[in-house]
Amino acid sequence: MSEKIIQLIDVYKEYDKNVAVENVTFYVKKGEFVTFLGPSGCGKTTTLRMIAGFEMPTGGQILLNGKDVTSIPPHKRPINTVFQRYALFPHLDVFDNVAFGLRNKKVKTTKTDKNGNKVEKLAKLSNQVIAQKVTDALKMVDLEGFEERNVTTLSGGQQQRVAIARAIVNEPEILLLDEPLGALDLKMRKDMQIELKELHKKLGMTFIYVTHDQEEALTMSDTVVVMKDGMIQQIGTPMDIYNEPKNVFVADFIGESNILSGIMVGKYKIKFLGHTFDCVDDFALNDHVDVVVRPEDIKMVDADDGMINGVVIDSIFKGMHYEMTVKVGKSELTIQSTKERKVGEMIGMNIQPDNIHIMAKEFTTNVYDGYITKNNTVVFGDGEFDADVTQLYPGSHLDEEGYLITKEGEQIDLTDVDVRVEVGLKDIDIDDITDELEETASAVGKIISIIYKGDHYQLIVRTEENEEDYVFDTEYLWNENDTVAISIPKDKIKLSLKAEVKK
């Protein structure tokens, strides 16, 4: 079980200068069920396609059983794929589809030649062997008797099974599944999840599965690889990933979470929601941190009996449980419980130390490389901003011609001077884009991420041209993928010189 069947080392892939996968390093053990999980565009499918051989990595190595297969074409790899939209051959019937790989296969056979010598020869599989294997494979996916059916007349679920049979019949060392259940309805998807899991047990093959459905990943896999923006965020068992998310993204993506801002006030002591909690994670004193608490880990008690108090402002029945929104100070918490509390009721809440997950803040400030223009504006992050350039030299001012005059009376031309730009998370504003703004806005970008953090949202706006990111906090809810204009107050742009300016 401990044998590494496939290993990716620093695998890197870019298309037309856009990075799809960035320095991915991990390995899969023989017989494991591994899932790549992440939102669309996170690089999970590209990684899978590189393992299959359809894409060539721009850099890095892929090892199969310790041997470098990075540049080996797909038809020579002992790996088979179940494609997202099945890719069954419409001109062949079910039998011929499943037999397709077997007919390409050559096996070593020993034959006795005329002189009685034994000779090893590569021979194609006989028709009986192929027929037997196809029948077995179809039986495995519950499609006995479908041999002569035309694939185009099958239902989505049946096509899915043919696609699986077509891959497993070749007994590959690794079976790749690219969002195979994406096109099925919910009920069918649940059934297929269980069947795939059983198939994995029965065959003992290594499965590498790609999905954006976190529940699917958690139910089926031995190991989950969470990806975002072409980078691996966390690798671990479903339990690890759920209980010990490494960062805010993983916590937000896997299951429901309350993400809050906290501050370390002592050893194993953290303050958030106005209360000091005991915790099990150790961070430096006074560190600003993100706190993640799962909705089911907040226990409700009577008002004033718990660590914190709050007012129920919303309650929804979700079948298995109630989901309540509770207002604590300015923050809103989501709580799941089998007991309902009425809207308007004041409740107390307890959180156990090991249910408080603490992680370092990913973003504390935005940093850019920029330069000053001849109009004394600053260009950074795909935009041009008005900034106070006199801050570079304390006590200086600008003359009418735009030269900077220092305290000592020296004249400096700042045109094209490189600067380091810092902007705080609270100092960025956005507006809905209009035709007029499109012309005048300092920078324009698209909202690519929204994370709710108890009393505010953390947004990331990315520009189109060079994919520069603006991370900031806002109280207002925006929509993902909206295009917005970015503005930063003049006095909030902190500049520092990268090198001494020639006078």
Binding site: H75, A87, P90, G101
Partner: protein, 267 residues
């Protein structure tokens, strides 16, 4: 009384056109083909005359031969062109495709005469009549083969090719087992669009074969012209119609589903 405009009424102009220019002329042809020239009574004499004459039969065979050869050469040239065009990552491939189709926009008599002058220039015109005829036919009908092939190949799902490679097929065997069978509708419509017209396009054989190559179209023209035997001409036309009809049945004919592959989706 109110006039109710119904969508069904849109069929009227097309119906009229069909009756005037297809059904009535066809009726005339059938009438002439099955009647006796002098008495006007029903007779099969025209067909017997055609099939009993060695000259007319050899003309028919020659036409089929020329058409087969033209179609084969067209297919051999057009498939690689269409395949490369469809596969290329070049962004403006429709421009490249247009370069191949552009000659269609120039009057065809002009084109053929230009080719004739060219062949004359290199001294080939009076040397190889059959070769010249086929050359002209290929030149003229190549776009009709490229277009349907290109439209089927461009629609070919790339994941099919990946699946084939994934299942152990070498690129060559992927072509034979997946690309070729899946481009069959394009091949079939390409063949129908080239084979049929080449049987009757006597302008090319006249201009480039210098009258040494007589194909069945020329024969029909002579019946209606110089020999003024409309009855025999109609009979031959009917025979041709039957040949086309039979070959369409054999090739799978015009199926609803491959309409898109007949060049319709291109523009």
């Amino acid at each position: 009384m109110k006039m109710h405009f119904n969508r069904k009424h849109l069929v009227i102009p097309y119906g009229l056109f069909l009756v005037l220019f297809v059904i009535i002329p066809l009726g005339f042809i059938v009438y002439y083909a099955f009647t006796n020239g002098s008495t006007g009574s029903f007779s099969l004499a025209n067909f017997i005359k055609f099939f009993a004459s060695p000259t007319s039969l050899s003309t028919l065979l020659l036409s089929i031969g020329v058409a087969l050869l033209t179609t084969a050469v067209c297919l051999l040239i057009a498939y690689p062109i269409a395949y490369i065009l469809a596969r290329s990552k070049f962004k403006k491939k429709s421009v490249l495709l247009m370069l191949f189709v552009l000659p269609m926009w120039i009057n065809f008599v002009l084109r053929i005469n230009a080719l004739r002058e060219f062949l004359d220039l290199i001294g080939l015109l009076d040397q190889a009549h059959l070769f010249n005829t086929i050359l002209g036919m290929v030149y003229d009908f190549l776009p009709f083969m490229i277009l349907p092939l290109y439209t089927t190949l461009i629609k070919l799902d790339k994941s099919m090719l990946e699946a084939s490679a994934d299942l152990g097929s070498h690129p060559v065997s992927t072509f034979a087992k997946v690309t070729l069978p899946l481009s069959m509708p394009g091949i079939v419509s390409g063949i129908t669009m080239v084979f049929m017209p080449t049987m009757t396009n006597y302008v090319i054989s006249d201009t480039l074969g210098l009258g040494h190559v007589t194909i069945i179209g020329k024969f029909i023209e002579e019946c209606f012209g110089a020999r003024s035997d409309w009855h025999l001409g109609s009979a031959i036309a009917l025979v041709l119609l039957m040949i086309i009809f039979v070959s369409m049945l054999v090739s799978g004919g015009f199926k609803e589903e491959d309409n898109g592959s007949r060049g319709a989706g291109l523009w």
